[in-house]
């Protein structure tokens, strides 16, 4: 018979169980953080089946933005909720400084010889390149030549801006600053010029909202990456990518093994399969439109470069210098742009 006491004990036990952290991963599995949206979709469709087929490993994806992954891993203090990170350069440096990665042993990485120079280092592997430039709607405005054009008519009144919250936003604003006399560590000139044209600008939004705002015609010129352009184009949006005259920007998205990971060997196999020809080729196709990093994979023709080596001429940034300044830039951007 149930006594009140028994019921109480049962209820407490049930409640307590739900508070426990998730039970350790099953054998033959790996937990990988993945960016929500296109990345998650693409990795579920390509990486997961390939890994299951080749190594019989089940991958459990945890949709998290780069900054959220670093925040969660930091908060977990040595018991990360996933085995592999996927990160942009800024959060990557934060994570290295925070000691969140295991060192990457490239001997366990079979695709090493297929990667262009500089993509594999002691901390991880670059599995996707992003190329950032200007996107515009060819039905509404002529093609801008470079960053300076964005501050003049007809582009300025159709311009959609984002701040320093994302990697692509930060590097774009740095390049704008450079055009007006600034540098990688001095974005002041960009903010001064922005402030001058602010009343004319069509939209200042959250990075994640920009593709939607473009699609809805709220703005017709934005700075963004080739992947967003290809994806919007795939949905029938009038959009073209322009490599600014001062050069396109590039940065890598990298995979890393979390310090304290439960399934280290499986995490290596996961990273290896992501860089494989088979997966990279699938990721390059619509609707995913990734830029591949495996030399055996041909580049899609909408990209502004002919081969991966050409990307070494593109502009890169030193995030070890940018990170310490970024908090100040974000605050400054808030104050300058606030209504």
């Amino acid at each position: 018979m149930f006594s009140r006491r028994n019921l109480l004990v049962g209820a407490t036990a049930l409640g307590g169980a739900s508070l426990l952290p998730a039970i350790a991963h099953a054998k033959g599995s790996v937990a990988a953080a993945i960016y929500p949206g296109t990345w998650e979709e693409a990795f579920r469709a390509t990486v997961a089946p390939a890994l299951k087929k080749k190594d019989n490993i089940d991958v459990e994806f945890q949709p998290l933005f780069a900054v959220d992954q670093v925040a969660k891993a930091k908060a977990a203090r040595g018991a990360p909720p996933f085995d592999a990170f996927v990160l942009d350069p800024g959060p990557r440096i934060t994570a290295i400084e925070g000691g969140l990665f295991d060192k990457f042993d490239s001997k366990k990485f079979s695709n090493l010889s297929k990667m262009p120079a500089g993509l594999v280092d002691e901390w991880g592997v670059g599995v996707n390149a992003q190329v950032v430039g200007i996107a515009y709607n060819p039905k509404k405005v002529p093609a801008p030549k470079g960053w300076k054009d964005l501050f003049t008519d007809p582009w300025v009144s159709r311009l959609g801006l984002t701040g320093f919250q994302t990697t692509f936003g930060t590097v774009s604003l740095i390049e704008i600053a450079k055009v007006f006399g600034g540098s990688e560590t001095n974005v002041e000139p960009a903010l001064v010029e922005l402030k001058k044209v602010l009343p004319k600008v069509a939209a200042v939004g959250q990075p994640a909202a920009m593709p939607g705002l473009f699609q809805q015609g709220q703005c017709d010129v934005i700075y963004t990456n080739t992947q967003t352009v290809a994806t919007l184009k795939g949905r029938g949006v009038d959009i073209e990518f322009v490599k600014p005259e001062t050069g396109a920007i590039t940065f890598l998205t990298t995979l890393h093994i979390a310090k304290g990971a439960t399934d280290v060997e499986n995490a290596y196999k996961y990273i290896d399969i992501v860089a494989s020809k088979e997966v990279q080729e699938a990721l390059t196709k619509p609707p995913y439109n990734f830029i591949p990093v495996n030399k055996d994979v041909p580049l899609p023709d909408y990209l502004p470069m002919k081969n991966l080596d050409e990307m070494s001429t593109y502009i890169r940034h030193d995030w070890a210098k940018i990170n310490p300044l970024r908090a100040g830039w974000i605050e400054k951007f808030n104050k300058e742009m606030a209504k």
Binding site: Q165, G212, K339
Partner: protein, 279 residues
């Protein structure tokens, strides 16, 4: 003995509350008293930084004002709807309730992007007004406070209407008849009988709408854009972009205290007006 057992029954919830709400809250307060983002040097630096900056006061004021405007708009639109509900037949009432609850059934992302489509430069409102020849240039609605208040009014409406309707449907219909029989006009009946008696529901609705709209991060940033800066945006930037958790903690506590202040003022007003009606 019996009392003790009942007290014990509440224990699981109380424990859950302490572990998942109270403890993190105390942790938040603790973290705010560190000067650096590595959380190693205790001090008041973050508090001094936040409250030494006039910009912070502007953001707090804007956030509270957004709440007040949304509350005012939901009352203005919601109260008449509640009156319509009160007089409707049960069948119509069921339809109305469905329409009222509808926004709660949609994901916040869907609701928010739907509002982009409605308010945008080439959106429904602008196309309608332009095709009717009322305007020649598209109105700027998206990324303005007006647009944000309009959308929040729709998004938060159920929080105003549900408590309001539940209180109003318990009103004794005889009171309205009595008021009419004693010669009061419909307006007089509304303001001297219905409004005072519905005050508990109205105040509860105001509390919910205020607390929810001042903290509606997704709607604020996506519909409002980032030129309209409210406290949730600052918290997000500091905690998830810059990783300055002590500073984020200071802003979070400021948001919590500001919202609680307004909410307690509202509930004090609710008690006072309730006392006036019954006392």
């Amino acid at each position: 003995m019996r009392k003790l057992a009942e007290w014990q029954l509440a224990l699981p919830l109380a424990l859950a509350f302490i572990s998942i709400f109270l403890a993190p809250l105390l942790l938040l307060v603790g973290v705010s008293f560190f000067n650096d983002d590595k959380i190693s040097q205790p001090g008041f630096g973050q508090w001094i930084k936040f409250f030494g900056d006039p910009f912070s006061y502007k953001v707090i004021a804007d956030t509270m004002l957004l709440g007040v405007k949304t509350v005012a708009a939901t009352i203005l639109v919601g109260y008449p709807l509640a009156l319509v509900y009160l007089d409707a037949s049960p069948r119509v009432q069921r339809v109305l309730i469905f329409i009222i609850v509808l926004p709660l059934l949609l994901s916040v992302v869907v609701r928010t992007f739907a509002w982009i489509v409605v308010l945008g430069r080439e959106g429904v409102i602008n196309q309608l007004l332009m095709s009717l020849g009322i305007i020649s240039e598209p109105l700027k609605l998206l990324q303005t406070e007006l647009g944000l208040v309009i959308s929040l009014t729709q998004i938060e409406m159920p929080l105003m209407l549900l408590p309001l309707i539940s209180v109003m449907s318990r009103l004794d219909p005889n009171l309205r008849d009595a008021s009419a029989a004693l010669g009061a006009s419909r307006w007089r009946t509304l303001f001297t009988v219905i409004v005072p008696l519905s005050m508990p529901g109205l105040v509860a609705g105001c509390l919910l709408v205020f607390a929810s709209s001042t903290t509606a991060f997704i709607s604020q940033t996506v519909i409002g854009g980032v030129r309209l800066i409210y406290l949730p945006l600052l918290i997000w930037q500091q905690s998830l972009v810059v990783f300055n958790w002590p500073f984020a903690a200071v802003i979070s506590i400021s948001l919590l205290v500001s919202v609680l202040t307004v909410v307690s003022a509202l509930s004090w007003f609710g008690r006072k007006s309730g006392g006036y009606v019954h006392g």
